[in-house]
Symmetry: C2
Subunit: 251 residues, 2 copies
DNA sequence: CGTCATGTTGAGCCTCCTCAATTATGGTGG
DNA sequence: CCACCATAATTGAGGAGGCTCAACATGACG
């Protein structure tokens, strides 16, 4: 079955959220289609109201919003195993939908709302997805504590730490991140020019590789120190035992 | 029963989230205790790990976090009918708990985790609370688009608009907001001094009342224009029909 | 070998911050 | 009713970080 190709990050993710293995199987069976997108393409358009959720199986995407002047505001990045637009399903488009863009070539699984309704009758799966939403909220909260308060170097360092951590949780240990400086600027709210200067500072500190045209982290410890980053906030896999207890108690 | 006193904002809130009336009754029956706090008191302490959720029945609270230097970062405000610390229940303290502080005298209902577990076996209630979480996330997202990007006047205006809108959704039409300039500074990430100057600008524009020692909105239209505020993002009550349809379909 | 997107550099300006001092305001005890 | 105090609000002056504008470099790709 094609639905099993590339499903392992999703399995890991749902397991870390406390969903039993058979829930994952059932979820995967609801995937009727799998799509691929190339870098820069829109995975979910700005006016998209298709009644389906997308799960990222491979690659990196971001959700963003447009300013009146056409500028792009990146609100979050998605990594394999994460839902791209679960909020649209839950809130039924009560807010102008965010668009989702592929930052690298990527693969996406599609599930119809109709099938989601059935899946959520399983309480274990429903709470796992609720937890996934709450983790996303926690990420936003963390970001809010830096954005608008921290200096440019803190904001940039934090962004990089967050992405390294989230990718690492699902096996991707690469030191190189697939973001352009423009992406970093749109995600941190800084100007491209200042992001460039900030990255040069980080290079001078031997935290980032001096190689141009790529963001490669050489000294992660130091980067986390600069960002004031606390990985525990996002450390999903360590929580598995906690959910297990909870599910048991509920059942 | 005391549990019914002050329950009407909660009823409104849950109704707007699509929960049927009997769900609300059952939820209210799980409230074993009701507490009152005076302004400035902590409703939930920074290290608090008590296995219970708090629902704000009356007054205004905020959730915050401390910086290393002791500074306060306000992440969100709570209004009657909203949960103060639902995230703690869902994620089981996987993150260092946020503290919650009373901004005015207030009343809080307490429900034990054990009882929550039972309540959530009702799918309609579970999805209503999931939606509540998602709305909170949407609020964070909106805030992120302003914080760190907008000018001081936009940030302050947006904050005020958001609170007016959320209070208004549950019947509180007062033009006066119970925030000190310090609260506004801690919530927007601006310095107190600059918040003061920004508020003076808004007063000069006849948007805020010139009365000192109070933030009173005179010209809400203009305030929303300055903030680029779109009330639809938070307009819960208008969504009732949507959830009703959804619940019907699911059932 | 031209074109386009990304990355780099410089200069001037503006917003917001910090530090420091002063003025309400409200509460408390005498 | 007043002296006293803590907190909040206000005002001024100087400085720093980040923005804008504008040019130029570099690499990817056809």
């Amino acid at each position: 079955m094609f639905v099993h190709c590339g499903a392992s990050p999703l399995r890991l993710k749902l397991k870390s959220l406390g969903a039993p293995a058979d829930d994952v199987d059932i979820l995967l069976r609801a995937v009727k289609r799998r799509l691929t997108f190339s870098a820069q393409e829109n995975v979910v358009g700005e006016g998209d109201t298709a009644p389906q959720v997308r799960i990222l199986l491979a690659g990196t995407t971001c959700s963003y919003k447009r300013k009146e002047d056409g500028g792009r505001i990146i609100l979050s990045f998605h990594h394999p195993g994460e839902f791209c637009d679960l909020h649209r399903y839950v809130l039924r488009d009560s807010e102008p939908a965010l668009a989702v863009q592929a930052l690298t070539d990527c693969t996406v699984a599609v599930i119809d709302y109709r099938d989601m309704d059935g899946l959520l009758s399983r309480p274990t799966l429903a709470s796992a997805l609720w937890r996934a939403s709450m983790l996303e909220t926690a990420v936003y909260r963390e970001r809010l504590t830096r954005t608008g308060r921290g200096t440019a170097i803190v904001r940039v360092a934090y962004l990089l730490c967050e992405q390294l951590e989230r990718r690492g949780a699902f096996g991707n240990q690469a030191r190189q991140l697939p973001f352009s400086q423009i992406d970093v600027a749109d995600a941190t709210g800084l100007s491209v020019v200042h992001v460039n200067r900030t990255i040069q500072t980080l290079r001078a500190l031997n935290v980032l590789s001096p190689a141009t045209r790529a963001i490669e982290v050489l000294d992660r410890k130091q980067l986390e120190k600069i960002a004031g980053f606390d990985g525990r906030l996002l450390a999903l896999p360590t929580l598995v035992s906690k959910w297990a207890v909870q599910v048991e108690t509920n059942g």
